[in-house]
C-alpha cells in the first residue's frame, strides 16, 4: 500500500477554510500524473488529466479536517474556542492540539464541580491551554481567528490502521494513487474540495466550473461492526461501500448500477451503504446547474470524528481498483 504517501497527507495541517498546507502537499504528490494543477477562488485543488472521449469525469474527496477556531483570548492566556465542523466535545477534553505555526496546546473545560467531561463539556465552556500566563504572552503565539487540529499518531493495527484525519485524507491518498495508476478515455478532473466538514461548501463551486458528465466522490462512512452500534450493514474489510443514500443525498439508480457493474466486472468486493445520519459533497454536486449525475464510494471507518479513526487496508486498496475500473469504462451513465 501507499503508506508513506498516506502518512504525509494525514500529517498535513488543514482544518476547513485553512486548507493551504494540505493542498500544497497534495499538489506536489499528484502533479506528475496530470496535465495541469490549479486552485479556484474557494481553494479547491483541481488536477486535470486530458482524455479523448469528450466526456468529463470528476473524482473528488474533501481535504479539510475538523478542528477548532480561537474566538477569544482571556487575560490569563486561555484560548476560548469554537468548533470547525462536527466536533464531539466530550471526546475532545484532555486532547493535544496543534496550530498551523506549530504551537501546541491541550484542551480542557471549566470545572466548577465535576470532572466528568461527558456531563459538562460543551464548546462554550471549553478552552485551549497553550502554556501562557497572560493574554499578551498568548497573543505572541496565537491570534483570534487562528485554527487548530487534533494531534494524532499513525497507529499500525496490522491489516487496519488508525489516525486522526483519516476522514478524509485516506480518500485524498486513494485519489492520488488512483491517478497514478489509471488510464481513462475521458477528461479526468481530480478535485480535492475545501470546507466539506462545515456544510459541503466547496464541491458545488468546483462542479459548477467543471460541468462534469459524472462525479464520483470519496468519503468515509460509519460502520455497524462495533459493540452495540445501531444496525448498519457496513463493516470493515468487506470492500469499499457504494453509497445508496445518506441524509444529504440519494444516488440515482443509473449511477448505482454503473458503480456496481464496474465492481462486479472487475471482481472487486463491495458493500451497499445506507447511512442514517451524515452528509457528503455528492449532495452539493448533484444540485449544480441543471443537475450533475453523482455517486459516492465510501471507505468504512470506525470512530469517525475522533483522533482514532480506523480503516482497513484492503478496503483502501480495493477502492483504488474500483476507481481504476470506473475511469476505464468507455460508457458513463446517463448517456
Amino acid at each position: 500500500m501507499f503508506e508513506a504517501m498516506l502518512k504525509k497527507v494525514l500529517q498535513a495541517f488543514g482544518p476547513s477554510g485553512n486548507e493551504g498546507k494540505v493542498a500544497s502537499v497534495l499538489a506536489e504528490e499528484i502533479r506528475p500524473y496530470c496535465d495541469e494543477v490549479y486552485t479556484d477562488a474557494l481553494g479547491n485543488l483541481i488536477a486535470h488529466k486530458r482524455g479523448t472521449s469528450g466526456k468529463k469525469l470528476m473524482l473528488s474527496a474533501h481535504m479539510d479536517q475538523i478542528g477548532f477556531i480561537v474566538v477569544d483570548i482571556d487575560e490569563n492566556g486561555f484560548l476560548r474556542i469554537g468548533n470547525v465542523g462536527g466536533i464531539l466535545p466530550s471526546l475532545s477534553v484532555a486532547r493535544e492540539v496543534v496550530f498551523e505555526n506549530g504551537v501546541h496546546g491541550v484542551i480542557y473545560f471549566e470545572t466548577p464541580e465535576t470532572r466528568d467531561a461527558k456531563a459538562v463539556a460543551s464548546l462554550p465552556n471549553m478552552y485551549v491551554d497553550i502554556g501562557c500566563a497572560t493574554r499578551e504572552e498568548a497573543e505572541q503565539k496565537v491570534q483570534v481567528g487562528d485554527m487548530c487540529v487534533f494531534v494524532s499518531n499513525f497507529v499500525d493495527l496490522g491489516s487496519r490502521m488508525a489516525s486522526g484525519a483519516m476522514d478524509n485524507r485516506v480518500c485524498c491518498a486513494i485519489l492520488v494513487e488512483a491517478m497514478k495508476q489509471l488510464s481513462s478515455p475521458h477528461d479526468v478532473y481530480v478535485v480535492f474540495t475545501v470546507q466539506e466538514e462545515v456544510g459541503l461548501r466547496g464541491s458545488g463551486a468546483a462542479a459548477y466550473a467543471i460541468e462534469p458528465d459524472l462525479n464520483i466522490n470519496l468519503d468515509v462512512t460509519l460502520t455497524g461492526d462495533t459493540p452495540k452500534m445501531p444496525a448498519m450493514s457496513v463493516a470493515l474489510g468487506k470492500g469499499p461501500a457504494i453509497k445508496m443514500m445518506d441524509s444529504s443525498v440519494i444516488v440515482p439508480q443509473c449511477v448505482r448500477k454503473f458503480m456496481i457493474d464496474c465492481a462486479e466486472q472487475a471482481g472487486i468486493p463491495f458493500q451497499r451503504e445506507v447511512l442514517r445520519a451524515g452528509g457528503t459533497d455528492t449532495a452539493a454536486v448533484q444540485r449544480t446547474r441543471s443537475g450533475v449525475l453523482a455517486g459516492c464510494i465510501s471507505i468504512p471507518s470506525r470512530y469517525v470524528h475522533t483522533p482514532a479513526e480506523v480503516v482497513d487496508r484492503t478496503d483502501v486498496e480495493q477502492a483504488v481498483e474500483l476507481l481504476r475500473a470506473m475511469a476505464a469504462s468507455k460508457e458513463l451513465p446517463g448517456a
Partner: protein, 348 residues
C-alpha cells in the same frame, strides 16, 4: 380526462423519492396526449410544454415522488431493517402492508419488535429502529432478491370513494396535483395563449427539493407556480393552521411573489372560486422554495388544495376542490397578456 381514474392509476405506481422511474414513465405517456414537446432530465423530472412561443414562459410544478422506506440491512432471519425516505411517521407503520422493490417485488408486512425487548415502554411511540419488514422468505432467498438500498413502498390499493366526492388513498400528496396539471393542459389546449407553459412532474420534493431546483434552473421560466397539498381541518389543530376542504389555498409571504399571488387571486375571483389565504414567513415546504432562488430569482406562486392525514396511507381530499385548483391555474395562465412584465414589476 377522468380525474378519478387518472388519480387511481397515478397512486398505484411506485415512485419513492429518488426512484420515480415507473410513475414518471406513465406521466410522460399522459403528457404526450396533450403535446409532443415532452422530455425528461437526468434526475427524472418529466416536462411537457404547451402554448405559444410568444410572451413569457410559465413553469407549473407538482411533485411525483412519494414518501417511503429504504432497506438498510438484512437480519439473520431474513427480516429487513429500514430507514424512512422523506417525512415518514414511524408510528403509522406497524401493521402496514408494503411492497419491497428488490430484484423481484415482494409483498411484506411491517412489524414491531416487542416492547419488552426494546428500551421503550408500552405506550411509547415506536421508533424506526424498533420496526422490521417481514417478507416471509428464508434469509438465503431474501438475500438473493433484496439488497441494502432497495426501496419499500406502501402497498397500493384502489382509492376509496367517501361521501360528497371525498376520496382517500395513499400518495394523493402530490399525485392528485399531477392529475390537476393534466386537467390544466386539457383546459388550456382549447384556448389561444399568449405565453408558453411547461408542466413539470418533479422528483425528490419529499427530501431535498432537488427536482424543483433543477427544473427551475433548466427551464429558466419567467414565473413558476408550485401546486402542492396543504392541511385540511383535523381536530386539535390550532386556528389558522388548516384550510376548509372546499377552498383553494393561496399562499403569501417571502417565498411568494406578491403580484403573482394577486394574479392567482384575481383568477379565482373571476370564476367565483372560494379561496383561503395563508401567510408563511419563510419556507413554504414546497418546490416553490428552491425554484424562487434559481437563475437570479424567479417569481413564484403556490396553489394548494387541502388534504387530511398527510403522509399516511389514507390521505383524503375533495375532488371538486382539485377541479377548482385546475380552474384557478388555467384561468390565471389564460389571462396572461403582453403586459405581463409590467404586471410583475416590483418597482412602483
Amino acid at each position: 380526462m377522468d380525474m378519478l381514474q387518472t388519480i387511481a392509476k397515478l397512486c398505484s405506481l411506485p415512485g419513492v423519492t429518488g426512484d420515480e422511474q415507473a410513475v414518471g414513465e406513465w406521466i410522460r405517456q399522459c403528457f404526450l396526449k396533450y403535446t409532443q414537446d415532452v422530455w425528461q432530465d437526468r434526475y427524472g423530472n418529466v416536462y411537457g410544454r404547451i402554448g405559444e412561443k410568444v410572451g413569457p414562459e410559465i413553469l407549473v410544478m407538482a411533485h411525483m415522488d412519494e414518501i417511503g422506506l429504504m432497506v438498510t440491512g438484512i437480519e439473520e432471519n431474513g427480516m429487513l431493517r429500514m430507514m424512512p425516505v422523506g417525512g415518514v411517521d414511524p408510528r403509522v407503520l406497524p401493521g402496514s402492508e408494503v411492497l419491497v422493490l428488490g430484484e423481484k417485488p415482494l409483498p411484506g408486512v411491517i412489524g414491531a419488535i416487542p416492547p419488552h425487548l426494546t428500551k421503550g415502554k408500552t405506550g411509547a411511540a415506536y421508533r424506526i429502529e424498533d420496526l422490521i419488514c417481514d417478507v416471509g422468505y428464508p434469509v438465503e432467498q431474501v438475500r438473493a432478491w433484496v439488497h441494502e438500498g432497495d426501496y419499500i413502498t406502501f402497498a397500493p390499493k384502489p382509492p376509496l370513494s367517501l361521501k360528497n366526492g371525498y376520496v382517500s388513498s395513499k400518495t394523493l400528496d402530490d399525485r392528485s396535483l399531477v392529475a390537476v396539471m393534466m386537467e390544466c393542459m386539457e383546459r388550456l389546449q382549447r384556448r389561444k395563449l399568449q405565453c408558453s407553459v411547461v408542466f413539470c412532474a418533479s422528483v425528490q420534493e419529499e427530501r431535498s427539493g432537488l427536482g424543483g431546483a433543477l427544473g427551475a434552473y433548466s427551464v429558466h421560466p419567467d414565473m413558476a407556480i408550485a401546486i402542492d397539498v396543504c392541511h385540511g381541518p383535523t381536530p386539535g389543530v390550532k386556528p389558522f393552521e388548516t384550510t376548509p376542504m372546499d377552498k383553494v389555498l393561496l399562499t403569501r409571504g417571502s417565498n411568494i411573489h406578491e403580484k403573482l399571488f394577486a394574479m392567482l387571486e384575481d383568477a379565482a375571483k373571476e370564476q367565483n372560486i372560494e379561496t383561503d389565504v395563508e401567510a408563511v414567513m419563510g419556507h413554504t415546504g414546497t418546490d416553490a422554495w428552491l425554484m424562487q432562488i434559481q437563475r437570479g430569482g424567479i417569481p413564484c406562486g403556490l396553489v394548494s388544495p387541502p388534504l387530511r392525514y398527510m403522509h399516511t396511507s389514507v390521505e383524503t381530499i375533495r375532488m371538486e376542490t382539485l377541479h377548482n385548483c385546475a380552474k384557478v391555474l388555467s384561468g390565471m395562465i389564460g389571462s396572461i397578456d403582453e403586459k405581463w412584465e409590467e404586471a410583475l414589476c416590483l418597482d412602483d
